[in-house]
């Protein structure tokens, strides 16, 4: 079976605002860096390009139109998947395994700062008849409902989520591209305003701008291009339901997509076999939910492990060493891209001051409010 590797990665950002660059220029910057990193010329060497974007995050009716030029993809096989970057990785893997490309490029970006009415856009994803008419609150309350159900079902106290924020914000201080990193204690989190009770202000990832580009290649070509190919050993994606009212609120999408990716990667005991994980933490409780769903720990042990630093940078299984979305920011469809980027940098040994020792890593992303969909990718050295 054809193996696929990441042979180049580039990014631009991540910043809370990017008033000087258009989204095209952000993408261009990330693409140029990725191609340099991979040593490929997009005009000659790349066979297929994948962009991950949603129209209303961008402010266009057909965003696909505005993609090819800044990726070097003019008149080449190029398309949009309306999903996170990790779905883009899954597509690139399938395209290469189908023989449609030897080298494929995946891009995702966020120009969240261009959106003036962020809450309205999220609300526009709700069922128009069932959910939109209910209440005038900012749609973050949907996450609050989920957190409430989840923590009650598991019997967790708020301390565990506050600790996650403390850990991720501290991790981010070693990442020069993490605009929301900072010295924050669990007490600070618990004392911050309960803007969407039980979610407190510091538990929510703020929006950020940035772009990420990966170059993927099939095995023979990957070995020619680089001495440190990072193998995409497994991909998985999964959707539970589109009905918010009947979702399980236990991140079944993450559990199932992880099962798919683990199966492909031959991982039978993720808690032991995975060395580093970057999971979606755009609300602090989501990190805990995702750690459980990815079977990185048993749910009843998680509070203790969080408290004891097991998921810290120096712990047995570091989670969100990059600082996560709580430090880097909510990158919309590029969220999984930032996670995958961190895993690739860690596996290559290029993570600088925040380097941990890792052979196998996992990146995971959720499709955000109001979905129960998400994707997982397993990378190995």
């Amino acid at each position: 079976m054809t193996r696929v590797a990441v042979v180049g990665a580039g990014y631009s950002g991540f910043n809370s605002n990017t008033p000087d660059l258009s989204w095209k220029e952000l993408m261009y910057e990330a693409a140029v860096r990725a191609y340099e990193d991979a040593g490929v010329d997009p005009r000659k060497d790349v066979d297929a390009f994948v962009t991950c974007a949603e129209d209303f995050w961008e402010g266009f009716a057909i965003f696909d139109e505005f993609v090819p030029d800044q990726l070097g993809a003019v008149l080449k096989p190029t398309f949009t998947v309306d999903a996170d970057f990790l779905y883009g990785i899954a597509n690139a893997v399938m395209i290469i395994k189908s023989g449609l490309a030897d080298i494929a490029v995946v891009e995702a970006h966020s120009k969240a700062s261009d959106i003036l009415t962020f809450g309205e856009v999220i609300k526009f994803a709700f069922d128009p008849i069932w959910l939109r008419p209910i209440g005038k609150a900012h749609p973050y309350y949907f996450a609050a409902l989920e957190k409430s159900a989840y923590m009650t079902a598991r019997g967790y106290s708020d301390d565990v989520f506050a600790k996650v924020v403390e850990k991720n914000k501290a991790n981010g201080r070693l990442n020069s591209d993490a605009p929301y990193a900072g010295k924050v204690t669990a007490d600070d989190v618990l004392r911050s305003e309960a803007v969407f009770y039980p979610i407190r202000k510091l538990e929510i990832a703020q929006r950020a701008d940035g772009a990420i580009v990966f170059v993927l290649a099939r095995e023979e070509i990957a070995r020619e291009l680089t001495d440190t190919p990072i193998w995409v050993s497994g991909v998985g994606w999964w959707s539970e339901t589109s009905n918010y009212d009947t979702m399980s609120f236990t991140a079944a999408y993450a559990r199932k997509s992880a099962e798919m990716a683990y199966k492909m990667a031959g991982i039978t005991n993720p808690a032991r076999q995975i060395d580093v994980a970057e999971v979606d933490d755009r609300f602090a409780f989501k990190e805990v939910q995702h750690i459980e769903a990815l079977k990185l720990a048993k749910s009843n042990e998680i509070p203790e492990l969080v408290e004891g630093g097991y998921f810290g940078r120096g712990g047995d299984l570091p989670v969100n060493v990059s600082g996560g979305s709580l430090s880097v920011g909510n990158l919309l469809e590029a969220t999984g891209g930032q996670k995958a980027l961190e895993v690739v940098l860690q596996l290559r040994g290029e993570a600088g001051r925040r380097q941990v020792d890792a052979e196998v890593g996992v990146a995971q992303a959720w499709r955000y409010i109001p979905t129960a969909s998400g994707a997982v990718a397993v990378f190995s050295r």
Binding site: T18, P19, D20, L21, S22, W23, K24, E25, Y28, V32, Y35, D41, P42, R43, F56, G59, P68, D69, Q70, G72, V74, K111, S113, D114, I115, L116, T117, E120, V121, K123, F124, P128, I129, R132, P133
Partner: protein
Amino acid sequence: MAVGKKDISCPPYVKGREIKAEDIKEGKVTYWEHHPDIRYSFTAGQAISRFLKGLKEGKLLATKCDHCGRIMFPPRMFCELCFRPVDEWCEVKDTGVVETFSVSYIDPDAKPLEEPVIVAVISVDGASPKMGFMHILGEVDPDDVYIGMKVKAVWKSESEREGSVTDIKYWKPLEG
């Protein structure tokens, strides 16, 4: 199994119930309206910001790629064919040639316009061949427009210009 037979005709049936415009007027249809308040502020970026500033000054700016030699209009920060940064900025003329045109009788919501609008792709003199952009024609009868017609920009006055493509009111035939 019913499959594999060549004598079935597909699709064997079609589902879906049509609604006529009258059904809505007469209140026979249950529906829910939503008027979203979705707004954006698009960052123009380096190339287009400078282009818009040029328009305010009554100038059309382009960029040049030394690799393929193209003078590109509208200007861009990178050459999409060579995939490298552009090398320099230059000014092109505010005259050009109609590459293709249309006489539009409808507005963006497909409502009829009182006066038709003549829209054209105009390739601008001084840029590389076929470096066109879309704009409006004026001071000309729709029947007199033809492909290959030479046109010139009619600018708003300096005080009216705001750094928008509408700083050019329209393009009119260039006499002679």
